[in-house]
Amino acid sequence: MESAIQQSCMESIERPDRLFCDLPTETLKAFDALKSTTECQRGTVLFREGSHCKGVLLLCEGRARLSVCSETSSRLTLRIAGPGEILGLSACLAGSAHEMTAELLDSTRVALVRRKDLMEFLHDHREACMKVVSLLSQDLHRAYDRVRSVGMGRGRRSRSTRVH
């Protein structure tokens, strides 16, 4: 990651279109105070599968590839995350290691919120907590879709097209 810059969520024009970002003003101000924004280059690995979760990363722009790895290092893309998504949320809430690797596909701005700060913020702001529940539900639906497509593939050949 490169030089840290501060940018306010209040200035974002895309905010109303993004599930988590569209928070009430006071809640957003509180979130703004917690986050630190960083410019990252394409190819930056935001976190690795199995690594300790330090916090969540909010993808302000650009895309990130979320993938899982086998013991033999073959990689399977779970999905491509887009602008406005929070990465590392489930590991952060469960207090577990990251269950996937996130790698940037574009050079972009990423906002980092430390785990401890996020937990306190969610306890104090019920609207944000409800948004997080909605986001996790959405993530879970996508994950089950992936289970369906991988598990119900007709054979190894159909599945292998998605293995990178």
Binding site: A94, E99, R126, C129, S134, S137, H141
Partner: protein, 240 residues
């Protein structure tokens, strides 16, 4: 209270002894009291379907006793078991929150006690009870991690043998037998159901078990499976 299915029904969450050990149920007093007012305690026999994949969400099901099979189905009728839910789990959670259809089918594999909460009541409860909202976020996180684990296992394992070995090692670790030289596990599922868990056929699972027994890696004693050679099973699981 004894139900027709031989279950000792816990009428009130306030007096439930297992509450403190369960992620969602261990709510603070006011939230628990509010939950008590919106839940319906119900009992189901083995083989009952709680909800079906594609059905509009009616509400959530808190599993109090028994186990529930969660599966997804392909258009050709092929079934894949995603998970066996244990007591304390909340089923139908993401669909009830998002309003999207249930993404899985839930079928009891034991007589079960389930606390049902209607969707509107549940969403109101979450808005009014921040502690409960937080617990739900934690449950969803766990479910998400499990789903990712399932994708990894299905998509990156090279053979049915590898998947079966991983499943047996996972089950033995859940039973607290992992540290033992020869872990034992109760096989509560049929070969057909195990096949649906690892995305293969019943015939393949039967053949794989026969092979593991022949090589003295596992031994069956009734419904108990003893892992005789853990190192060999680990080797199969790591695709070597």
């Amino acid at each position: 209270m004894l139900s027709p299915y031989g279950l000792d029904i816990i009428e009130s969450c306030l007096t439930c002894k297992s509450r403190t050990e369960r992620l969602f149920c261990d709510l603070p007093g006011p939230a628990l009291q509010a939950f008590e007012g919106i839940k319906y305690a119900t009992a189901y026999p083995k083989g009952a379907v709680l909800f079906v994949e594609g059905q509009a969400p009616r509400g959530i099901f808190v599993l109090c006793k028994g186990r529930v099979k969660l599966s997804i189905c392909a258009t050709d009728g092929k079934t894949l078991i995603v998970k066996i839910a244990e007591p304390g789990e909340v089923l139908g959670l993401s669909a009830s929150v998002s309003g999207k259809p249930y993404e899985l089918t839930a079928e009891t594999i034991d007589p079960c006690q389930v606390n049902f909460v209607k969707r509107d009541d549940f969403l109101r409860f979450l808005k009014e009870q921040p502690d409960a909202c937080f617990k739900v976020a934690e449950q969803l996180s766990e479910k998400y991690n499990t789903a990712c684990h399932e994708v990894r296992s299905l998509g990156l394992s090279h053979s049915a043998g590898e998947k079966l070995a991983k499943l047996l090692l996972e089950w033995s670790s859940k039973n607290g037998e992992a540290a033992k030289q020869e872990p034992r596990l109760k096989l509560a599922l049929t070969h057909e159901e195990i096949a649906q868990m690892i995305g293969t056929s019943r015939e393949t699972v039967t053949r794989l078990f026969a092979d593991l027994k022949k090589r003295q890696i596992v031994q069956a004693k009734g419904s108990t499976l003893i892992i005789r050679n853990k190192a060999a099973l680990k080797l199969i699981a790591s695709n070597n």
